[in-house]
Symmetry: D2
Subunit: 142 residues, 4 copies
């Protein structure tokens, strides 16, 4: 049974490299956010609109494993999927690959847990309709 | 006749380098902001407080000339001074140097013009007390 | 007489905003680099290849004027063109717009001068073939 | 039995905030790198020198938990300690606090595992003297 997954694409910017000649490690997490933005947009509700409605999703935990280096001008693909939905939090998983001569090379895998906050920064629950929407595209038991 | 000037110091972070082995060019402008924050703080009014009071200073123009490369772990000194005060704008000048074996080496000079905005992002005038405060430490004719 | 111009497109990332609710000013210069990368690629020689061949183009001067705010998730278009070619330097001009309900809104205009360096970071001349290539797509008298 | 720990300090830059009004989550990992740089420097061997000698330490895994928001101009303290030393890898732990009116507030805890690479990017072992040096300041059984 397949899981919903969105695919985002970008090219590595020069500003994202460091003196090791590869992408500085924190930028991969920025790319995960690009993937997350696309995932949420494809559900029919851009994250910008959620914020305008008073629902903020703040990163509460992030874990990332680096598998291979990404370099300037590499073509990066980010696969984003939902890992878990809770009443006050949602967890996304990411797989990042770069295009290589012999097919895609996995550069990193990551997971971020986001918690729901109101405009004042206080914890709140996710709206029921959003939990439903997440569940339609995410894991059944979570 | 001396001009008021503040001196800020920082070390180059690894994240600020690029694959050329030197600091990526936009980070020097971030350092200018560090200098500007210190300049404003030393006037007795942290910029964070100005914002809380409804005065936002947004960069409207920036010019920077790069003179020599800065590298990872270099010790950087930022000299900030006031170039011009207008009713709705203020212009700062910066000189950035790095410590070298034979004395400081100039890495960049820059200028940024900031305009006053209210909380809604609309242009406003600088409060009179702030213009006075700026004039006490800035150029007489401006 | 028309000038060669490339058009690059991107969406504003959350990481590029600041607490003023708009894009932090230095990121516009990163977008200019995205435009420059595309401009050079369309000439038939990716900048990554130039670097591999021992030609580095380092930003020596940058000027940017901010016209209107760009915000999270805005769709940004970068128009890049050649302003001037010299034996050791090349100057690019940029116009950045965001999509608005009544058409594109100009968010910034910028210019960056890049100087040619060899692998050791010493100044060098641009290769003759590259100057020719630039002149084919750039201003006639420069 | 106390563990060696270094303390680094910095102030939050405006560029590090996002439109939520707090520090964008990836910058905390940059601060961890500031702490790591200081930790290694205090062992008597700046990381810049290690790299010049052909030993690169690349982040292979990072985990971070966010506890409370950090804001513009906050005064941040980073405590860095060694968690584990292996023949080809070293793991650091970090605790980040901000100064608050009633004492320090914990903003994040993190862990990063770094693997040893040579100049070509191939895995290598840590030099024996460095493993010894790490062990002198790190956990006994690891």
């Amino acid at each position: 049974m397949s899981r919903h997954e969105t695919v985002s694409e970008l090219r590595v910017r020069y500003s994202e490299t460091d003196q090791m000649g590869v992408v500085y490690h924190t930028h991969y997490l920025v790319w995960c956010e690009v993937g997350r933005t696309d995932f949420i947009r494809e559900l029919g509700m851009p994250y910008a609109d959620l914020e305008a409605d008073g629902l903020l999703l703040a990163v509460a935990q992030a874990t990332i494993r680096y598998r291979a280096a990404a370099r300037y001008d590499d073509f990066i693909r980010i696969r984003t999927r939902l890992e878990r939905v809770q009443s006050r939090a949602v967890t996304f998983g990411y797989e990042l690959t770069r295009a290589g001569p012999e097919g895609p090379v996995r550069v990193a895998t990551a997971e971020t847990k986001l918690i729901a906050l109101d405009r004042s920064g206080a914890p709140r629950t996710l709206p029921e309709w959003l939990i439903e929407r997440f569940r339609e595209v995410g894991p059944v038991h979570a």
